[in-house]
């Protein structure tokens, strides 16, 4: 090996080292500081893998999926924090999260921001999750429990472990929402290999997370779901609600396949777990 080769190899390593440390610094810098910085959009896997497909030629979304990083605590970026029940110690403490909101901040109207603050203060009693109510859309998609997609040509079903919630996505028989409901009315179609779902008719009582982020009965959610890799999906949703927000905004997160062999959506029928909370004050004393 002559001197020149050594120099070239050395330079190659130096450049690599520089690039690696630069990108590391960038990542570190972006996370805590980045107010107003770019979206935490999941990086598309490159090069794009061959999309797994169903027998009908559509991308295969079948499987058991789950979000990570706890956006259900707060979809905006947030540091770790105290919980609401001191007796529960660290069990109830809020874990930190980088958030799933594009541009980090939800564009509330001023009066709505005040309501969000009120919600946050009283979240223990107001959060519909505390009452085991159906989670609505998009919250159902990132609850800390798995859900399963059962995909046929005419219907794409999403069955959630939490509260036995269910979403029916009508792929062919598109109708306007017949009445408000907790899980809304979802019409879906394919744009290339992306499943696009428009959901309306959402009950105004659902929230986005445990931090009191909320919407009105004018909420419209447009979701885009595509295959990211064999075991991940890209999920993004555009949120429209002129009553509450100054403009539309977006969330995005990856959904991870539960690859454990025994993965299964089980029953979390939480109605009986909340009877003390909801009806305890109406109990006969002493009760039997």
């Amino acid at each position: 090996m002559n001197r020149r080769t050594i120099v070239i190899i050395g330079a190659f390593f130096a450049i690599n080292l520089f690039l690696a440390s630069a990108s590391f610094a960038q990542q570190r810098g972006a996370a805590p500081a980045g107010r107003g910085a770019t979206t935490p959009t999941p990086t598309p896997a490159a090069p794009a893998p061959a999309t797994p497909r169903n027998a009908d030629g559509r991308p295969d979304l079948n499987g058991i999926w789950q979000a990570l990083d706890g956006p259900n605590w707060n979809i905006e970026p947030h540091a770790a924090d105290f919980g609401t029940v001191p007796q529960l110690g660290a069990i109830d403490a809020v874990p930190p999260g980088t958030g799933i909101v594009e541009n980090e901040t939800i564009p509330y109207k001023p009066e709505a921001l005040a309501k969000r603050a009120e919600n946050y203060k009283n979240r223990m009693s107001l959060d519909p999750e505390a009452k085991c109510y159906l989670p609505g859309v998009p919250r159902a998609m990132y609850m800390p429990q798995p859900f399963q997609i059962v995909q046929s040509t005419d219907f794409i079903m999403m069955a959630f472990q939490y509260a036995s919630a269910i979403r029916t996505v009508y792929m062919t028989d598109h109708k306007p929402s017949p009445a408000p409901s907790w899980m809304g009315w979802s019409n879906g179609h394919w744009e290339g290999d992306t499943l696009v779902i428009e959901t309306t008719g959402l009950d105004e009582r659902t929230w986005f997370d445990r931090a009191g982020n909320f919407h009105s009965d004018e909420l419209k959610v447009i979701e885009r779901i595509s295959v990211r890799s064999a075991d991940t999906l890209n999920y993004e949703a555009t949120i429209e609600d002129p009553k509450v927000f100054t403009h539309t905004w977006k969330i995005s997160l990856p959904l991870y396949r539960r690859v454990d062999k025994s993965a299964q959506v089980l029953e979390f029928k939480c109605m009986e777990f909340v009877e003390e909370l909801l009806y305890g004050h109406l109990r006969k004393q002493p009760a039997k």
């Binding site: 169903n54 027998a55 046929s152 089980l266």
Partner: protein, 379 residues
């Protein structure tokens, strides 16, 4: 509604086709077994004393349409090659689970009886059977009422949404009744009755004392096995790669049934709807369910050891044959029932029971108010 008229006429043909070859032809499934001709038996002798130990699981003995007589079978497949049983189905039926005693061992009505609309095998049907009798077998109340006071239309039930059937009972075989309880079953029945007796006078003390249905935990006919809840009797079936999903409108509960022969979940995981595993046997989806928590006992008596084997077979565009076999040591032997589901129109609406459970609040508020009033009077 578009398929209703056709549905009824086809299912009539099918059910008659079911009846005629049933006693003379080998069963479609199993092949070698020849069906017993119905024996003339009195209702009493139809229920002989049963051995104390539950009999080993017997293959279900109901009739399938014999290939020669049945109309061309349902051949439509899903894109991934499963027999296509997808759609919205009504579980409503006019056939009682247990056979009216007046029908004896008669499993099917005659064509004349069907035409005349007569049911129950006599104008005074079911008078020989008492509610007590039914309860002793751990079961149902008096099954068939010859003069039903219900106007089905009040529940949005149109006779055309029911698959027509000439069966005298869903339960198949010469007995047509839920078998007697085993000693274990009698013990469980006594325990459950004692619990209920202890609850007397305390029914309104707290939410936990109300029924599972009032508490919006589930509708007690959801099973499995699935029986008609009386109204909103709607089921949606969707098939995805490797899975069949069965959604019941009440109460938005989806069963996710894997088809890959995986073992049941750990016995530590006991669930309201158990744990279901499925596979295809020809055109029939066979689903086996175990891991029940025993807190919604089927026929108010089944135990955690309940095992249910369901068979879904689409007979034609508009009819799904639903069969189930019950095995549980509380009964002296396994028993099998079959019922037809008619195709119905979607969609299913969201049955958000718990979220709107003002009824529970009002029940408890009312009870507390009554107690206060009573206390005021005593003073």
């Amino acid at each position: 509604m578009r398929n209703r008229v056709r549905a009824t006429s086809i299912s009539l043909v099918v059910t008659i086709g079911l009846w005629i070859p049933a006693s003379v032809l080998p069963q479609a499934r199993g092949g070698t077994q020849t069906r017993q001709a119905p024996r003339a038996q009195s209702p009493r002798s139809a229920q002989p004393v049963q051995p104390a130990q539950p009999a080993p699981p017997a293959p279900p003995q109901h009739t399938q349409p014999a290939p020669a007589k049945a109309p061309a079978g349902w051949t439509q497949k899903t894109p991934d090659g499963q027999p296509d049983i997808q759609g919205f189905w009504s579980t409503a039926t006019s056939v009682p689970l247990e056979r009216p005693t007046a029908c004896g061992s008669r499993e099917f009505y005659t064509e004349e009886e069907m035409k005349a609309g007569a049911r129950g095998c006599t104008s005074e049907a079911a008078t020989t059977d008492t509610a007590d009798n039914g309860a002793q077998r751990g079961g149902t109340k008096t099954p068939a009422d010859a003069t039903p006071h219900y106007d089905l239309a009040q529940f949005g039930l149109n006779i055309k949404t029911m698959a027509e059937s000439n069966r005298t009972s869903m339960i198949v075989g010469p007995e047509g009744r839920i078998p007697p309880l085993s000693p274990e079953g009698q013990e469980r029945q006594a325990e459950l009755a004692a619990k209920q007796a202890a609850m007397r006078g305390h029914e309104f003390d707290q939410a936990e004392n109300r029924s599972l249905t009032e508490r919006c935990i589930l509708w007690n006919s959801e099973g499995p096995p699935v029986l008609s809840p009386g109204y909103n009797s709607n089921v949606q079936i969707v098939q995805g790669q490797g899975y069949v999903m069965i959604l019941q409108e009440m109460m938005h509960d989806a069963r996710l049934i894997p088809l890959d022969n995986r073992p049941h979940v750990s016995s530590n995981v006991a669930q309201w709807f158990g744990d279901s595993r499925g596979h295809w046997e020809g055109d029939t989806l066979v689903v086996e369910t175990t891991n029940y928590n025993g807190r919604n006992p089927f026929q108010r008596i089944s135990s955690e050891s309940l095992k249910v084997t369901e068979r879904f077979k689409r007979i034609d565009e508009a009819t799904l044959q639903y069969e189930f076999t019950i095995e549980d040591p509380v009964w002296t032997k396994p028993w099998t029932a079959v019922v037809s589901w008619a195709k119905t129109d979607g969609p299913l609406f969201e049955y958000a029971c718990h979220e709107g459970n003002y009824g529970m609040v009002n029940i408890l508020l009312g009870a507390r108010a009554q107690e206060r009033e009573a206390a005021a009077k005593d003073r």
